[in-house]
Symmetry: C2
Subunit: 523 residues, 2 copies
């Protein structure tokens, strides 16, 4: 195996990981609890492919074989027709259908595939002009599963494959459905096991900042996005950092130069001043609405945004959500460029202590908002939409770290194999225990036989088995079986140091007829 | 939008599909029911990435950027070190680490990733020589999720992305664990809702045919595999077809020439004769064992295979499985080249009638076997393993087609929006119903208002809502609400043609205080 040759090392791709039984139990607890809440609001379960045409996800095609914009893409091995925007095949000057290997992408979220599903369903009607603008039909779905991002720099605790759990309403322009997003997130997180005080749902409206920026002369969408991206970093780089990046630029800790947008100080001050009014306090929603009302001036877009927040506030108060869970946060930006109205972010208030003894927070665990333009990009037809996503893996990590869930897995009772000839007996006992509802494994690994009992018990210990059963020929003749309570064994391991004593406390000989009852009494 | 330019058509990749709520309900019923059985036998839940290094899946690297051997592969956008088989980085003559963009693959099954996980865990110990041959530790896991195959020709009903649900024991060479595979499959399929008579578990042992082929001088593995692939087609192409393909070749229906292996007639007859002895009858396992014992002659490998089948038979009889579910089928081959011992295939005995009125079968719904060489390919160390896989999507399709499951989804009660001003009331009613356990949706789509009630009810009908609620201002004043029983409505739609009569039967005015009780009585 030595030598200067390529070899295969069994390994995972960087940023990808295996999920063990413990983490899986939390992951599925989250998915099942929240899905039940989603269904109770009328969302139906949809699943879409992991792999999609790159262009049908609303991204422009990468220009080369390499991955672009954080998406894993590659060329379809199959050659297929190229289409025109009217749905017909594109033909060359000899009237031959133009063929190509189209780019495929691993989905980077669950929202883009939803847009594709909706657009695909509406496509024929749309081409016939049969959908009236503003009357795009309602479709409410939830979906969960892995999404993929190719991030070149991977921060600790971040992954390139991670799970999301989304719910969205397409075809809904009723602002009550945005208020409902808050209700659902709150209910889902509590169903998962968080307390009301463990999280805060922060709400803002993109229109408010958009109006403010229009007021100071920012009209181009790229400029708006660039400013929002910087404002979004307020928590990370502070007021001075934001000020510098909006203006002349700055050097970061490593000395690298971060160029500024070059806004003049008066504009920068307007932006910073607005954000700062709200950044440091967490007043009631009513106070924020009053403060906003006095700050936003006469811009129509900002006013529309404020009116939407007021509506959300009314709906929430009406169902008894008076401000202990949902907060209005006018400095909230959220990255995605496609948001057009209300935006949501759920922040965990829980902290944990890391290996170095430093208190840390997980931060954002859910996000969402209204994105009235997303389907339009694919369909050319306005289909308003809003929804949110739970970051399943983030939340699972949080629950592990803060002790909200230990990812407890019910491990099986282990029947050790002391004598291969007794396999039929082991099988019968296992079947009896399973019928009584007790998960039961027979040890099929290497090292069977009485002399290797220690190795088998070590397997049981590692697997977290609560009970191990030992049956040899002599015992079978007497009609008894030895039961070791491994759960108790590990509990008293520190206090009971005498081996004989420990064995006496954890091990007992039980009549075979009473075994099922006895094991059930231990569990 | 016209013109000779590329456009985006919202569409799925060929061979990929969306899964609606109905199919999802069957899929998850299958996964949850079978997983519970798997856990009861001591298998723990593992999840692995969708994307893996191509070489770590045990496939050789594709030579180009195109997809090879039915696997979706592409080059990692990230450049990384190349390793030697001893785990060290490969260096060039200037002692610089050789870097490359490694090939990545979408997993094509769940067995190869399991081998990678096991090999990765053992890797360090293996390099140190700390694992004794034959003592590879036991690891039992189950896993479910999508796998991907690039099949150039896609038969109807076949997909390029489909779900599997596997359980495997690595490190187990105990033949009792192979018998257990049959027990688990039988129990899982019954937990899912199939009757004992709906399926047959067919069992064979690769060693039996291997021995037979050795007896007639087939020693090369490629030749053995080629013969097995042809024998595997017995059901499809019949005796004459198999005979021709083993010998001189044949022409298929389309006239295409299928070359033969060129075996001489005496060898072909030995193979065909052996297979035919068993192909047409389904005798008891005991009879098959007797027949085998008289046929296989003195070849040691065949005898070992027979002895394993005998062991499996004993274990199964011991737990009361006397031959109504598990059958020995010496003609069973199964495609995968990696099987080394017992092999399993579950065949559905149910048939359904297709659109053309033809009676059809779904065929194989589960498969598995012992593959003692798979981990060895990655680790260089023998780690015996066996297990099986339920074809989730195949089984879901079967259950749909045969009426075993209709994929029933519980749709929500719909609160129609007759008056936007009453939204607070709608919200309160929805919250009350949800608290009582009734899924409830408020209509947030286009067309709100009393005049558009018909469109809202049509949305409810399409979604399968059992009940629609209608509340206007007048009704609210009187403290009542109109309840329409849509479930009953669609049941009597054919028999009650008078509109007034139909409405009288399905619609009633209910006191708001009694609403929750009333709705629950309908559901």
């Amino acid at each position: 195996m030595e030598g200067k040759e390529r070899g295969v090392v069994p390994r995972k791709i960087k940023g990808f990981r295996d999920i063990n039984a413990s983490l899986n139990s939390i992951r599925w607890h989250i998915i099942e609890s929240a899905s039940k809440v989603y269904r109770s609001y009328g969302f139906e379960h949809l699943d879409t492919p992991i792999l999609e045409y790159a262009d049908a996800l609303g991204k422009y095609m990468p220009d080369s074989d390499t991955v672009d914009r954080g998406v894993y893409s590659f060329k379809n091995p199959e050659i297929e027709p190229v289409y025109q925007a009217n749905g017909r095949e594109l033909r060359d000057q000899d009237n031959k259908v133009v063929m190509d290997n189209h780019f495929l992408s691993l989905r980077y979220d669950l929202t883009a595939p939803l847009s594709r599903v909706y657009a695909e369903r509406m496509w024929t009607r749309h081409l016939k002009g049969a959908i009236h603008p503003g009357k795009a039909p309602l479709f409410r779905r939830y979906q969960f599963g892995p999404v993929f991002r190719f991030e070149t720099k991977l921060d600790p605790g971040r992954f390139r494959e991670f799970w999301q759990l989304d719910f969205d309403s397409v075809g809904s322009n009723n602002i009550a459905s945005d208020a409902e997003v808050c209700m659902i997130l709150s209910e889902a997180l509590q169903a998962i096991g968080l307390d009301k005080t463990d999280f805060r749902i922060k709400v803002n409206n993109r229109k408010i900042l958009k109006g403010l920026l229009l007021d100071i002369g920012v009209e181009k969408e790229e400029e708006e996005q660039a400013i929002l991206r910087i404002v979004d970093k307020l928590d990370k780089i502070g007021r001075a950092g934001v000020e510098a990046e909006l203006g002349k630029g700055r050097k970061d800790k490593s000395g690298a130069v971060i160029p500024g947008l070059g806004l003049d100080p008066s504009r920068t001050n307007r932006i910073i001043g607005f954000i700062e009014t709200f950044a440091e306090l967490n007043p009631s929603r009513t106070e924020v609405l009053e403060e906003l009302s006095s700050k936003i001036g006469n811009n129509e877009i900002s006013k529309a945004g404020l009116e939407e927040l007021e509506q959300i506030d009314r709906v929430l108060k009406n169902v008894g959500m008076n401000g202990d869970v949902v907060y209005f946060t006018p400095s909230l930006v959220r990255g995605m460029a496609y948001y057009t109205g209300p935006i949501f972010e759920v922040e965990s208030t829980q902290s944990y202590t890391d290996e170095k003894g430093i208190e840390r927070r997980v931060g954002s665990i859910c996000g969402g908002g209204r994105y009235d333009g997303l389907v339009e990009n694919l369909l050319g037809l306005k289909a308003p939409a809003s929804g949110a996503s739970i970051g399943v893996d983030r939340l699972a990590e949080l629950m592990m770290l803060t002790g909200k869930s230990k990812g407890d897995v019910v491990s099986p009772v282990l029947i050790t194999v002391l004598d291969q000839e007794l396999m039929p007996e082991y099988q019968k006992i296992a079947a009896q225990l399973r019928r009584s509802g007790v998960d039961t494994e027979i040890y099929y690994g290497p090292n069977p036989g009485f002399k290797k009992l220690k190795k088998q018990l070590s397997y049981a210990d590692k697997k977290g088995c609560p009970v191990a059963l030992m049956l040899g020929g002599n015992e079978l003749e007497k009609g008894v079986i030895t039961v070791r309570n491994l759960k108790l064994g590990s509990e008293i391991a520190d206090t009971v140091t005498d081996k004989g004593e420990w064995r006496r406390l954890t091990q007992s000989e039980v009549n075979l007829k009473d075994l099922v009852t006895h094991v059930n009494s231990i569990l």
